[in-house]
């Protein structure tokens, strides 16, 4: 096989070891085709379709992203009790557990189980929307698969991205996973009730967030005590 272009045809070559053994082969010429298509072009089309549908229905849509265990579901349990006309789509690899938890608030919750896929994509969301009763809805939360890497690449058609960072994680996580924080509209510091017990360094965390997400609003919240809930719901209403 051709080591230069891999086309299966050996190139012309000669040996420089003093041997008179020189040989050539005919090489099939190649032509270049310009493509310039994003790898996620199909996802982008689906995301744009979702966005158009959300606009037509008057829905504000938020994509919630964080590592597993940062408190996305707990936040939504409390939020769905306080925010009227809201529903959730929730992604996990397996189980309906999170949707069951969220339904207990009385709101609609639709589970997407991704199998082995580490993120939600716009097509999965599109199918989840088929199960959503959109009548009277104003706000839709999409709880992404817990993962600070892959979900960053997939537009779902959302209006805003919310990235959660809990006080029990490292304060420098935004610097370790800068891509997902870079385009956050809001960074929510969760489990603020555990800050003292966890030895959470607030100033260090704020500096990390400001460095990785200079344009994001930063709020602190506890889904357990309700501290910070007013500011979060006010941001949602804004």
């Amino acid at each position: 096989m051709c080591e230069t272009c891999g086309c299966g045809h050996p190139h012309d070559h000669s040996h420089e070891n003093g041997s008179t053994h020189t040989h050539t082969h005919e090489h099939t010429p190649v032509r270049t085709i310009e493509v310039q298509i994003p790898a996620l072009a199909l996802n982008q089309r689906h995301a744009d379709q979702n966005r158009g549908w959300f606009r037509a229905k008057g829905l504000t849509v938020l994509n919630l992203l964080s590592s597993p265990g940062s408190g996305k579901t707990a936040l939504l349990e409390r939020t769905l009790q306080k925010v009227p006309h809201a529903a959730a789509i929730v992604g996990d690899l397996q189980t309906e557990n999170d949707a069951d938890r969220l339904r207990a608030s009385g709101a609609q919750a639709i589970q997407i189980t991704t199998g082995a896929t580490c993120h939600l994509d716009a097509h999965m969301v599109m199918h989840a929307l088929e199960k959503l009763d959109v009548e009277g809805l104003k706000t839709l939360f999409i709880e992404n698969v817990g993962n600070l890497v892959c979900p960053a690449s997939y537009d779902l058609g959302e209006d805003k991205r919310v990235v959660l960072l809990s006080t029990t994680e490292g304060e420098d996580k935004p610097l370790k996973y800068p891509v997902i924080f870079q385009n956050a509209d809001l960074v929510l510091i969760t489990k603020i009730d555990l800050a003292e017990a966890a030895g959470f360094d607030r100033e260090k965390a704020l500096a990390s967030i400001r460095q990785a997400a200079p344009k994001a609003t930063i709020l602190e919240i506890s889904s357990k005590t309700g501290e910070g809930m007013e500011a979060w719901t006010a941001w949602l209403a804004d």
Binding site: C5, T32, V35, Q36, A39, C150, S153, Q182, P214
Partner: protein
């Protein structure tokens, strides 16, 4: 490990473009904000190309840099991910100009089709 699904997308775009022809090479452009690990993408290519029209093809990656334009002082600057301060005026209001690319730029096919 979403590189496998991204590579699968890149290959299907390449195959659609080649329209049945063998693919001799693929060239992709990747920015530091794309969220893609280049080594993982190469691994995915090695895993997915065999048996496809891109089997044995050369896989070229062009890496771009993160580029910002500062709306305050007008500076255009390159910076690593996670450091967004304008080196001229120190503000962090820079507007992203480049760095989130993740696209198939071109392919090569035999010139006999």
């Amino acid at each position: 490990m979403h590189e496998l699904s991204i590579m699968s997308n890149l290959l299907s775009i390449a195959e659609g473009t080649a329209n049945g022809a063998k693919i001799c090479s693929l060239k992709v452009r990747i920015g530091p904000l794309s969220g893609v690990v280049i080594e993982a993408l190469r691994f995915a290519f090695e895993a997915l190309a065999p048996g496809s029209p891109a089997e044995g093809a050369r896989f070229d990656i062009e890496e771009t840099q993160l580029e910002f334009h500062c709306p305050d002082c007008g500076a255009v600057f390159n910076t690593p991910v996670g450091a967004y301060e304008c080196p001229t005026c120190g503000c962090t209001r820079g507007e992203l100009r480049g760095g989130n690319e993740l696209e198939l730029i071109s392919i090569e096919v035999p010139d006999d089709v």
